[in-house]
């Protein structure tokens, strides 16, 4: 019952008294904390229409800070001494134009505010402000006969002692040295890696050459070839051919046989269910190669060229050859 009545009363402003009383009974905890707003005061405020129905959250009044502008102006008037500029040497200016930032397209805020958290930007802002001042002040100083450039042989006491300056210089030099060392070390590491690679390649090449040579020798021994080309050494021929086939092989990728084996047995290749005798597979003619089907066209022509070089002689011929020896 209490729920229903309170919902209705929220819409009806006149029955505020009962509403407040019920609310107070239900939520006495929050009310006790703020002793300033007593129940009666709340009721009055609600009656006057200052409080609206709904959640009313307490907020602290913002602290009013003293800002006696008149007093400040008066103080300033009393304080200021009319001194010529040469006594004060003060300038007020915005930072100088940053060419790099403009080139990059990110200009700082037009009113001169700078984000205090971005260290680099903030320091650059201060630097450019100082620069603009200096550029403005130098001609004025020249007119007043005040010098900014110190002659090389003018020795006078400096703000930082020579000891301090040598310390600073040493630190800078050491920093640079460390940087250079790390650069050198990196380069050396790269070189070593590269050197190792080159070494491995050379060894492999040598092994391959040896293997080829042995194969060629064996072939000659067995009588498959009767040319002694391999004795001439690695001249242009095998090198060029080797390069060509090497490049080709690299482009082709792994062998077709290797590929099909990978597909069947390798990781991620479909193992079973590759062959189905369905309508689709029956009608699928994508794997039909006419050359293979009609015998690669080399039925007639190939025999003459190929047979002479690579064909291994049959058993009887080999036996005869052996016995001849």
């Amino acid at each position: 019952m209490t729920l229903e009545t309170s919902i209705e009363d929220m819409e009806d402003l006149e029955e505020d008294m009962e509403d407040l009383e019920e609310d107070e009974q239900l939520g006495t905890d929050s009310e006790e904390e703020d002793s300033e707003l007593s129940d009666s005061e709340l009721q009055d405020a609600f009656a006057k229409g200052l409080l609206k129905p709904g959640m009313n959250v307490l907020t602290t009044k913002s602290k009013t800070c003293v800002n006696n502008v008149e007093g400040i102006r008066q103080c300033l008037a009393e304080l200021s001494k009319s001194l010529p500029w040469v006594e004060r040497l003060d300038l007020t200016n915005l930072p100088a134009e940053d060419i790099l930032a403009r080139a990059e397209g990110k200009l700082p805020a037009a009113d001169g505010t700078v984000n205090a958290d971005d260290d680099f930007q903030r320091e650059m802002f201060f630097y450019r402000q100082a620069q603009a001042s200096v550029l403005e002040a130098l001609p004025r100083l020249k007119k007043l006969n005040i010098f900014t450039k110190r002659p090389g042989d003018y020795f006078a006491e400096m703000a930082k002692s020579d000891q301090q300056m040598t310390k600073i210089r040493k630190k800078l030099i050491s920093k640079q040295a460390i940087l250079e060392k790390s650069e050198k070390a990196k380069k050396l590491r790269e070189q070593r890696k590269f050197g190792k690679k080159v070494q491995v390649e050379v060894i492999q090449k040598r092994q391959k050459e040896k293997k080829d040579m042995m194969n060629a020798v064996k072939k000659y021994q067995k009588g498959m070839t009767d040319k002694l080309d391999f004795l001439d050494g690695d001249q242009k021929g095998p090198a060029a051919a080797g390069q060509k086939t090497k490049g080709d092989a690299a482009k082709r990728g792994p062998n077709a046989k290797r590929k099909s084996k990978d597909d069947r047995f390798g990781f991620g290749g479909k193992k079973s269910g590759k062959k189905w005798n369905t309508k689709e597979s029956h009608n699928d003619v994508s794997t039909f190669r006419s050359k293979t089907a009609h015998g690669k066209g080399g039925k007639g022509g190939k025999k003459g060229g190929k047979g002479a070089q690579n064909k291994r002689p049959g058993k009887s011929v080999r036996k005869k050859m052996k016995s001849h020896k």
């Binding site: 602290k63 800070c65 003293v66 800002n67 006696n68 502008v69 007093g71 400040i72 102006r73 103080c75 300033l76 009393e78 304080l79 001494k81 040469v86 006594e87 004060r88 040497l89 003060d90 300038l91 007020t92 200016n93 915005l94 100088a96 001169g112 700078v114 984000n115 205090a116 958290d117 903030r122 201060f126 630097y127 402000q129 100082a130 620069q131 603009a132 001042s133 200096v134 550029l135 002040a137 130098l138 100083l141 005040i146 010098f147 900014t148 450039k149 110190r150 002659p151 003018y154 020795f155 006078a156 006491e157 400096m158 703000a159 930082k160 301090q164 300056m165 600073i168 630190k171 800078l172």
Partner: protein, 339 residues
């Protein structure tokens, strides 16, 4: 015979300068010619001009300041030849005693550093007899001795002062600008100063704070290197009198360092406190008097009686089929082979 008051000259600096000038003149036309070609002329020594603007700044601190503050004070004294030093003041004394100290030392500006809790550094800047005074909180102090500050300048050379245009926008900032100018600018022809202008102080406003930097002018084209020191000032209050008087301005953005630390601690423990509160609420709930629900009012809401079925009595015994064995064709052979 009254003892003559010895005028305090700029130690060796002024003497060196005078000597240098004399040497140049003595060496004759050759030297001057060569230097004239390079357009570098040695200026006349400072004592040639009359020092009119009598501005003196008293720089000192209270007890309990740490090494960084001490170094900062020394750096400021190095940078400002028109400054005077004094012994540490006991914090038990009231602040207006400082006015008397200033009078004794014949200074008309004062920079007083005060450390609280050995952590927070406050700086008072005031115009001594009647003028306004400001209290700042100093943060981010870096001194001359830091190795990253690579610039150097003549000791006692006059600085250029560079202000952010924001100083002209607010009245209290305009007052501060005037105060800074009078305090930090070395008077012309001050006996301890050098005739060159080779460094620039910058005062900028960012994040409602005043940032101070000191740069050395290397080339005429405006290339600069930082000399140091550097610090950040946070305005707390501006008073009409020197170390007292009615408040003219109070900074609404200022948060006392204690409050700041408190906020940080609260933020880090807020989560923990929430958890603890939840635990306590649960404990309270456990020991609350709970209602024993004997009868559930809503139990009959979804009570839908099932359909009545006729009672079926089985009279005939169900036929028992022979137990079918699972077919195990090769098990027998395997068992035989094993044995």
């Amino acid at each position: 015979n009254m003892p003559t008051k010895r005028k305090r000259r700029g130690n060796s600096a002024a003497e060196k300068k005078a000597k240098q000038a004399r040497l140049m003149l003595e060496e004759g036309l050759d030297a001057i010619d060569s230097t004239a070609q390079q357009e570098i002329v040695v200026p006349a020594p400072v004592s040639m001009g009359k020092w009119k603007n009598k501005e003196r700044v008293l720089i000192f601190s209270s007890r309990g300041v740490n090494f960084r503050t001490r170094h900062l004070m020394n750096d400021l004294r190095t940078m400002m030849p028109h400054s005077k030093a004094d012994t540490k003041m006991d914090r038990k004394d009231k602040l207006f005693v400082i006015n008397e100290v200033c009078e004794i030392k014949n200074c008309n500006k004062c920079l007083y550093f005060e450390a609280k809790k050995k952590q927070d550094l406050y700086m008072w800047m005031s115009n001594s007899p009647h003028g306004p005074s400001v209290k700042f909180l100093v943060q981010n102090i870096h001194t001359l001795a830091e190795l990253k500050m690579t610039g150097n300048c003549l000791k006692g050379s006059r600085p250029l002062l560079s202000f952010d245009p924001k100083f002209d926008k607010e009245p209290h900032l305009a007052l501060l600008k005037e105060l800074f100018t009078q305090t930090f600018a070395t008077p012309h022809y001050h006996p301890k100063s050098q005739p060159f202008v080779d460094h620039v102080f910058t005062f900028s406003i960012a994040d409602n704070r005043i940032w101070f930097r000191n740069y050395q002018i290397i080339e005429e084209d405006g290339s600069l290197v930082e000399i140091g020191p550097r610090f950040v000032l946070n305005i707390i209050k501006i008073f009409q009198g020197s170390f007292g008087g009615p408040t003219l301005f109070e900074n609404p953005h200022f948060q006392s360092p204690n409050m700041h630390r408190r906020e940080l601690r609260q933020a880090s423990t807020a989560k923990l406190r929430e958890k603890q509160m939840l635990k306590e609420i649960q404990k309270m709930k456990r020991f609350e008097n709970k209602e024993v629900a004997t009868k559930d009012v809503t139990a009959d809401v979804f009570a839908t009686p099932g359909q009545e079925k006729p009672v079926h009595i089985q009279e005939v015994e169900p036929s028992q089929e022979p137990h079918k064995r699972k077919p195990k064709p090769f098990k027998r052979r395997r068992m035989q082979m094993r044995s």
